[in-house]
């Protein structure tokens, strides 16, 4: 993970973190669900639940549709998982403990987020079926609306660092975290982060309990992979939020990497809980809010951040 370590080690580390993170998301989802519903929290059952669900999907029968696009359907979950890995690989655990630290880290992250919409559209389009296609168009509308506020919210964090490198962005938060410096940033980022990983109140493109979602025709391993990729994206969004707004490795008493983990998990709990506490939002309302409220707020955030620096 240090700059002199081999790329293979870094890739394996990122993959391992993703795997653990996906499992954590599944467990958290169940725990929060049980707490919100007032059901008793049985630790054993909750820990084994995701494994059981995964095993069920693994033995499920393969299912196809008529004249589907086989390469696209197979590629979509892999692409989403790869994008989550790219985004997570940019998150530093410490000043020199990071899988990749390109000078343009922020742009790489943004490009990964922009490609999420390609992955989701591909996933909804390739089965050549009505319901997945509806989900794909919904995500397209959602994605074209969240891109700009998402970029602006993240961009404001690059201003105090005077650099696009994620490590520098975290380093610049030594004295004061961005969440204090830019109070608008984190809420904006979290709202739009839910939209990026189509989770919780914004999962209309792919709701498990809805007929219309991009994974409506998925079964077995493909469905498992898609769900894992979605959870991985949520992990990446949470980890990047911890780095960009909550000061990454900075914190008293504990070593840096532990702080990164604590902050990421805290954001993850917030994101997962939003799915159980908030009602689902219709796409057209979200689009109006994104263009008319979130973008002006994000611009205001950037202007304030710039003014403070001057």
């Amino acid at each position: 993970m240090r700059p002199d370590a081999s790329p293979l080690v870094a890739a394996l580390a990122v993959g391992g973190v993703l795997l653990v993170g996906v499992y954590l998301v599944a467990v958290l989802d169940r725990v929060v669900g049980a707490v919100v519903a007032g059901a008793p929290v049985r630790v054993g059952g909750l820990l084994a639940g995701p494994v059981r669900a995964a095993a069920l999907l693994l033995v499920q029968r393969y299912r196809g549709t008529e004249r589907f696009d086989a390469p696209g359907w197979a590629l979509a979950p892999a692409l989403l998982l790869g994008l989550a890995a790219v985004a997570l690989g940019l998150v530093p655990l410490g000043p020199d403990l990071v899988a990749a630290d390109p000078a343009t880290g922020f742009v790489v992250f943004s490009a990964a987020i922009a490609f999420v919409m390609i992955a989701v559209f591909l996933h909804g389009w390739s089965p050549n079926a009505v319901f997945p296609l509806h989900g794909a168009y919904r995500y397209a509308a959602q994605a074209l609306s969240f891109q700009i506020p998402f970029l602006l919210a993240m961009l404001a964090t690059a201003l105090p660092a005077e650099s696009l490198s994620i490590v520098e962005i975290v380093r610049a938060q030594a004295s004061i975290w961005n969440v204090v410096r830019q109070p608008l940033g984190l809420p904006l980022y979290l709202v739009v982060g839910l939209a990026v990983s189509f989770w919780g109140p914004l999962n209309l493109p792919d709701g498990a309990d809805l007929a219309e979602g991009t994974s409506a025709e998925d079964a077995g391993v493909a469905r498992l992979l898609w769900q894992a990729a979605r959870a991985a994206m949520l992990v990446a969004v949470a980890a990047m939020g911890a780095a960009g707004f909550l000061g990454g490795w900075w914190g008293p008493w504990l070593p840096g990497p532990v702080w990164v983990l604590v902050k990421s998990v805290a954001l993850l709990v917030v994101l997962v809980a939003a799915g159980h506490l908030l009602a689902r939002i219709r796409i057209e309302r979200f689009v109006v809010v994104a263009w008319a409220v979130l973008i002006p707020l994000a611009l205001l955030n950037v202007f304030i951040a710039g003014a403070v620096l001057l």
Partner: protein
């Protein structure tokens, strides 16, 4: 050719400060991978039987070019190109599907005109340009500080080339206003689909001409 490769390349270029033969071999291999990939997918854009597939192929071609830009040391430009193209391709796919008969854009299609002329022009353009590239003698002055490319660009953008940058911004603003004005359904004299014609000067003459 998804999002993972260019990012990996960026990482490698970023660390490529040390002189190593394996490093340059890797860069060469990646370059040919991106080059062949982007040309092949660019060709497939016009040889595939679905508009959405064409959009995805074009995106793959652009991602390949973005990867080459990163390998050339223009990290920022390459990543911005990839970032920009993702949104653009999605809009393209949606617009195509909107104006085609089949909602998913999966029907076969082959819609060309003046095909021979077009093939000749394409091959001719390639031969002339490639010939020029191979024949001409270019100076060899590589960037002395490749790791500073992004910073140089930032200082140039907000320094000497501020006027160009601002002009580009104003042009984009004008484009946004113009595009909204052209594409908006309601024109000055009514709905676009009903003709949006101006009313006649004399009140009793025929409104529809």
């Amino acid at each position: 050719m998804g999002g993972a490769d260019p990012a990996g390349a960026a990482e490698r270029v970023h660390r490529g400060g040390g002189v190593a033969v394996t490093e340059s071999l890797l860069v060469d291999a990646l370059f040919w991978l991106f080059a062949v990939g982007s040309v092949l997918t660019g060709y497939r854009v016009f040889r595939t039987d679905s508009m959405v597939r064409a959009a995805f192929y074009l995106l793959a071609s652009f991602a390949g070019v973005g990867g080459i830009l990163v390998l050339l040391g223009a990290e920022f430009l390459g990543m911005v190109l990839i970032l920009m193209m993702a949104g653009e391709m999605l809009v393209m796919a949606i617009v195509m599907v909107m104006y085609m008969m089949n909602p998913a854009g999966l029907n076969p299609m082959w819609m060309v005109h003046q095909h021979r002329v077009a093939v000749a022009a394409g091959v001719g353009a390639f031969l002339v340009l490639a010939g020029l590239a191979l024949v001409a003698d270019f100076p060899d002055r590589p960037n002395p500080r490749p790791e500073m490319a992004t910073e140089q660009l930032g200082i140039e953008l907000l320094g000497d080339s501020m006027l160009v940058f601002q002009t580009a911004g104003v042009a984009l603003l004008a484009t946004m206003i113009g595009a909204v004005a052209i594409a908006s359904r309601r024109g000055r004299y009514g709905e676009a689909d009903e003709g949006s014609q101006e009313p006649p000067l004399a009140p009793e003459s025929d409104a529809r001409r």
